[in-house]
């Protein structure tokens, strides 16, 4: 076990919890979407922290590919959520 695993792995868990709490507590949809993004960043951080193998050894590329996919899916989901939110706003205004 490396110190980096602990530091960044636990930071990821912390970010996940911060994001989850905010997503549940906030009333505004935009704030919720932002919070879920922070939540997801925490998950990515934990995965990549575990792929790290020290300064002189290359890290495991499979989790990296996984998280790269995750980042793109997250931004697509965010875009769809924002579009849904905008439509919802319009329907409330009508």
């Amino acid at each position: 076990m490396l110190a980096e695993h602990l530091i960044y792995g636990l930071s990821g868990v912390g970010l996940f919890a911060i994001g989850l709490r905010a997503a549940l507590l906030h009333g505004s949809l935009l704030a919720k979407i932002l919070a879920i993004n922070v939540c997801g960043a925490g998950v990515f951080l934990t995965i990549v922290a575990l792929a790290y193998q020290g300064l002189t050894v290359p890290a495991d590329p499979v989790p990296h590919a996984l998280v790269l996919t995750g980042i793109v899916v997250a931004v697509s989901a965010t875009a769809l959520a924002l579009a849904l939110g905008r439509r919802l706003q319009e329907m409330q205004d009508e």
């Binding site: 935009l30 990549v48 579009a83």
Partner: protein
């Protein structure tokens, strides 16, 4: 001594990240929250670089901080005037929720520490290194994405396409911005060609160095966002049917290449070794255009004005999307 310095640096970086994350979601002022989130994304990119994940650092800077930030900022304009958003109406008191998330974090953190202390991790790096000569590229992450685990990437492109069609189904594009002033226009004139060249480089470099379709696509999309901010409402998206073709190009070319292997008696997506490099570049080029178009459409926030008229071209009239 250097060991201690590294740990100090790590602790500082982790503390900054947690602080920025908490500040971004903790503030009542949404605009402030979004700006803090963009800064958070940039720090995330630093952390990826620190953890020897340069592909992720590039992707995070372009997508996580760049495009996601632009999407959130654009959505901010639609929010009702800057009144303080109400907290959610909850069935349980807020402190109980806080207690629950702290409890969850402690349990997950404990499980993580326990797993780190006892588990014998199975690393996939040796396997990837052993097989990389047959993948057609020399960069391990690209080899995993486009060859060893090509299914994941194919389905990911399908997710992106689905999200775009969801957005298109909901609403017309937001009205564009008024034409930019001379300073921004000059900047757009400089930056857009630079971004296009950078995207092409990232696409090409992906075969042997950090880079690839996602980073290149996001960089191209950044050029589109910039064009739209500069007063080009279509953000240089191709007209009519070409736009639809561009959007499905990623999944389409990927599937065609994959299915073509079946005709030669190979498994789905199992490229022959001598053609793999070229096929991967072909798929990545199509994916770059598709991702860029998808992210640009997401920034527009809906279908462009000629979306429906291109489907029913015989009528020849403009639709009412405006």
């Amino acid at each position: 001594m250097t060991e201690t310095l590294w740990i100090l640096f790590d602790l500082l970086l982790a503390a900054m990240l947690l602080g920025l994350g908490a500040a971004a979601v903790g503030t009542r002022d949404l605009k402030r929250g979004v700006v803090l989130f963009i800064v958070f994304g940039l720090f995330m990119a630093l952390v990826w670089a620190r953890l020897r994940a340069p592909d992720l650092a590039l992707a995070e800077a372009a997508i996580g901080a760049g495009i996601a930030g632009a999407l959130l900022l654009a959505a901010l304009r639609d929010e009702p005037a800057a009144e303080v958003p109400a907290p959610a109406r909850l069935a349980v008191p807020g402190w109980l929720l806080t207690l629950f998330t702290i409890g969850l974090a402690v349990v997950v953190g404990w499980a993580l520490i326990d797993a780190l202390a006892t588990a014998q991790p199975q690393r996939l790096l040796p396997l990837v290194s052993a097989e990389i000569a047959s993948s057609g590229v020399s960069h391990p992450v690209t080899a995993v994405l486009l060859n060893f685990r090509a299914y994941d990437t194919l389905l990911e492109l399908a997710v992106v396409l689905t999200a775009v069609y969801g957005i298109v189904a909901l609403a017309p594009a937001r009205p564009g911005f008024r034409p930019a002033g001379p300073v921004l226009e000059g900047l757009v004139g400089w930056l857009v060609p630079l971004l296009i060249v950078t995207a092409a480089y990232l696409l090409w470099a992906g075969a042997h160095a950090p880079g690839g379709a996602f980073q290149a696509g996001a960089t191209l999309a950044a050029a589109a966002v910039l064009l739209r901010l500069g007063g080009h409402p279509r953000a240089a998206l191709p007209p009519g049917t070409w736009l639809r073709l561009t959007l499905v190009a990623g999944v389409g070319v990927f599937l065609l290449v994959g299915v073509a292997q079946l005709a030669f008696g190979r498994a789905f997506l199992a490229y022959p070794v001598d053609l793999a490099g070229g096929l991967i570049l072909l798929i990545e080029a199509a994916a770059t255009l598709a991702i860029a178009a998808a992210l640009a459409m997401a920034y527009l926030g809906g279908y462009p004005s000629d979306w429906h008229s291109s489907a029913s071209a015989k009528q020849g009239g403009k639709d009412d999307a405006g």
